[in-house]
């Protein structure tokens, strides 16, 4: 009963708007115009249906009428402006007062999402509904966000929602596989990398970061070798060793991966940046790495000459290869310990 789905009422609205004043369900409601004052600014030239809908909403809202027709009115108001958080808030009050079937509410939000999947209020409402429905809602929420990702694999709200669902309602079992699938489709999808990090650190069925680190390092490095210009696996790799500097320094796979990329002599800025970070923490590179770095130097002044320090060399090379961040590399260079006989 409650939710005439917003998409059909919106369609009706555009084609043949029946003024609310003519609708029997709103008999006796006195529309309340907006109090914009005598000389309004940023005044919107509202369409007739918009204005009337909101005048009726204001009326029922101000009288705090928590009835089925209020619910209907919030549907109409949301269809003319889905970003009106006051309407959504009132809708929640009405739903609670009516003890409404919240499963229908999920359908309602799906209709709204079709028109604009990047609306804060929609997702917040969805979260509220799902929380009330409890763990049984988990699979439908995961399915819903999956559909959104088919259209936009990086929708920020949808990802936050999905993470909330997993933590509040469960459903972790297939999540790592889902990340792998998304990354297979687009290895540059940073949202999927972020989700992967979320899963390996938070999933109750995986054992946590320490247990997962080893296989994830291999996974990240494989992605690096496929596309060394892809920033995502580099950041992911660093993140795997978040506060474990010793372990990071000692994982030979990390600096081997850097070396491999350096030797190819293309798309190596992240490899160099990683080496710089390692050097800053006291990494002692082997001769092969030193040679690879040296071979990237040119005979430009400023690179050869007084730079006996390897880390300074790296900063110089980066200043040349990554000129957008020239200031940053200069500043990194200035931060290096002055000594460093390498």
């Amino acid at each position: 009963m409650a939710s005439s789905s917003s998409s059909s009422s919106e369609g009706e609205g555009r084609r043949a708007w029946v003024p609310l004043a003519s609708r029997p369900e709103f008999a006796g409601v006195t529309p309340l115009p907006q109090d914009d004052g005598p000389s309004p600014v940023v005044a919107i030239a509202y369409r007739d249906d918009f204005r009337e809908t909101m005048d009726y909403f204001r009326s029922l809202y101000s009288s705090r009428e928590l009835s089925p027709r209020s619910l209907l009115l919030t549907s109409l108001a949301i269809s003319v402006n889905p970003a009106n958080y006051t309407v959504w808030h009132f809708r929640r009050q009405v739903l609670e007062a009516l003890g409404a079937d919240l499963t229908e509410e999920l359908e309602f939000t799906e209709g709204v999402a079709k028109r604009n999947a990047k609306n804060y209020q929609l997702w917040h409402h969805r979260r509220w509904v799902a929380e009330k429905l409890g763990p049984d809602a988990a699979s439908r929420e995961l399915e819903f966000t999956r559909k959104i990702f088919c259209l936009d694999a990086k929708n920020y709200h949808a990802w936050s929602h999905r993470q909330w669902v997993l933590q509040a309602l469960g459903g972790w079992e297939d999540e790592l596989d889902y990340c792998a699938q998304l990354l297979k489709e687009d290895v540059f999808n940073h949202s999927a990398w972020n989700q992967r990090y979320f899963v390996i650190t938070k999933s109750p069925s995986l054992g946590g970061l320490n247990a997962m680190r080893d296989s994830e390092v291999d996974y990240a490095i494989e992605a690096i070798h496929a596309n060394p210009e892809n920033e995502s696996p580099w950041r992911y790799l660093r993140g795997l060793y978040n506060d474990e500097n010793e372990a990071w320094l000692n994982d030979s796979r990390v600096h081997s991966a850097c070396l491999h990329v350096l030797k190819a002599k293309r798309n190596f800025k992240f490899a160099l940046s990683t080496l710089l970070d390692l050097l800053g923490l006291g990494f002692k590179p082997n001769q092969e790495i030193k040679d690879a770095i040296t071979s990237l130097r040119t005979s430009d002044s400023g690179e050869a000459g007084s730079d006996s320090d390897l880390a300074n060399s790296v900063c110089s090379i980066l200043g040349r290869e990554d000129p957008m961040r020239a200031n940053y590399w200069t500043w990194r260079s200035s931060k290096l310990p002055q000594a460093a006989e390498v």
């Binding site: 309004p40 006051t86 990802w159 940073h190 949202s191 978040n242 020239a326 200035s334």
Partner: protein
């Protein structure tokens, strides 16, 4: 003098032949060649944007100097007209922003203030009156008259009124009621809800704390555990997300960082990781992206550029606050050594290469001893923060960003946009201009000294008003309001 525009900007595909001219009308650029095969969605989208932007830069590069100068000019009059018209009235399509009208006010009023354009007294009165009608009797401002109070619209309304300035505007804010509203939105976790029953995120923290600070009502109760919440939102990437676990994002990074600074807890963040994340958000297009592997967008000129500006002022690398003689600091002396060129050379280098090319662009200028103007005051974290000096030079590529803003985001007919192919709007106008002023002032050695000619891309007349970098309000207006609300705290507001 010619400015090398993004000469290192790479073209992913072969150059297209010139299309035949169609009459005298403005020529449509030829459609871009299709992206290379075997690419992902991310790669294809990125490639398309690079093509668009590359075309603009190439076209610019072959213009004669006079035309180049014109192309780099801030189209002040047209922006002012666009903005002022919006202030008076908006088309029906703005119905989607009917719950954000104080935001529209702020975007427009702040943009006009950045352009140094005063608002006439009658219009000012109307704005004050309108915003008063958005003020909820129990405190805070909603998106329009009669709407539920909301932290974001409260922030926008307060910033608008501060930008207007004057005692009528400032005294229209019911500080006590706003304080009540903020306290009601405060959550046990330390964060804030955006509105009654609303979402909790880093944006809510920023809008609440920023307002509390500007109105001089920031107390321990409001600040309690905010730092814990924001810290939990710093991700493995180094940037800050909206909620714990989400992706690092430019908007939330600015909000989180600014909030931490306002409550004096910035040192709890991993600042080196944060800096590393944010500087890598500036791409080959010269503008900033919001997240890793996403597309450039003019609004991030402020969110990310502004975050860089804040980070520059933080001196997170061993320098203590206040009093210390910075001339003996090893970081400053090494910077001095690195940029040991004469002023004349520096000037030439910067004029010729306002692009992300190798040598001259980013002369990392000498920090040097700053003495009095940089001495830290143990008072209000916000008030003195803007006075801190950047170490010298900017962390991000200021001239490249200005290029993107002026050539790719600016519309000659007025207004700014996300990127080529998108429409202008007031939000992007506000944040592109805010980003532009951040760039222009990012290399100033002293808080009081104006930018040097080579800090400003385009004619020096492009110079905008400086902002307070934590609140994004024109500095002189912030100072006036700060004084007003310091005095006001002795009085009970009716």
């Amino acid at each position: 003098m010619p400015i090398g525009i993004a000469a290192s900007f790479r073209f992913a595909g072969p150059r297209k032949e010139k299309k035949k001219k169609l009459g005298g009308a403005r020529m449509e650029p030829p459609p871009p060649p299709p992206p290379p095969s075997g690419t992902t969605v991310t790669q294809r989208d990125q490639w398309t944007v690079e093509q668009e932007v590359g075309r603009i830069y190439s076209f610019f590069a072959q213009l004669p100097p006079a035309a180049q100068s014109f192309a780099l000019e801030v189209q002040r009059d047209n922006h002012i007209e666009y903005l002022t018209r919006g202030l008076r009235g908006l088309a029906p399509s703005f119905g989607s922003l009917d719950a954000s009208r104080p935001w529209i006010c702020y975007w427009i009023i702040h943009s006009l203030a950045l352009l140094g354009e005063p608002i006439d007294a009658e219009l000012e009165e109307s704005i004050i009156d309108f915003l008063s009608r958005c003020q909820d009797p129990s405190g805070g401002y909603g998106g329009g008259p009669g709407q539920l109070p909301h932290l974001a619209t409260t922030y926008a309304a307060v910033n608008s009124l501060i930008t207007l300035g004057g005692s009528r505007s400032l005294s229209s804010i019911n500080r006590d009621k706003v304080h009540n509203f903020l306290r009601q939105m405060k959550q046990p976790s330390g964060g804030f809800r955006m509105h009654d029953g609303g979402e909790i995120d880093v944006r809510a923290c920023y809008t609440a704390i920023s307002v509390a600070s500007t109105l001089n009502i920031l107390d321990d109760e409001l600040a309690e555990k905010v730092g814990d919440f924001i810290l939990s939102c710093q991700t493995y990437e180094g940037g800050i997300a909206g909620e714990p676990g989400s992706e690092a994002h430019g908007g939330y990074t600015f909000c989180g960082l600014a909030t931490m600074i306002l409550i004096n807890e910035a040192d709890r963040l991993d600042l080196s990781r944060l800096i590393d994340w944010v500087v890598f958000r500036q791409g080959v297009e010269c503008g900033f992206q919001g997240r890793v592997n996403k597309l450039v967008d003019g609004c991030y000129s402020f969110w990310q550029g502004g975050a860089c500006a804040l980070l520059q002022k933080l001196h997170p690398f061993g320098l203590s606050e206040g009093g210390e003689d910075e001339s003996t600091d090893s970081i400053d002396s090494s910077l001095y050594a690195a940029s040991n060129v004469s002023e004349q050379e520096e000037q030439e280098n910067n004029l010729e290469s306002a692009s992300p090319q190798v040598d001259g662009t980013c002369q990392f200028k000498q920090g040097g001893p700053q003495s009095a103007s940089c001495s830290e005051n143990t008072g209000n974290a916000s008030y003195n923060f803007h006075e801190r000096c950047a170490e010298g030079g900017s962390l991000f590529n200021s001239s490249a960003l200005q290029q993107y803003i002026l050539l790719c985001s600016q519309l000659p007919e007025g207004g700014f946009r996300d990127k080529p192919g998108k429409f202008r709007d007031f939000y992007h106008t506000c944040y592109c201009l805010s980003g532009l002023t951040v760039c222009q002032y990012s290399q100033s050695k002293h808080a009081d000294s104006p930018p040097l000619p080579w800090d400003v891309v385009g004619p020096y007349s492009n110079l905008l008003e400086p902002i307070h970098p934590l609140h994004n309000v024109v500095l002189s207006k912030y100072q006036e309001a700060n004084e007003f609300f310091r005095v006001a705290s002795g009085f009970v507001h009716l």
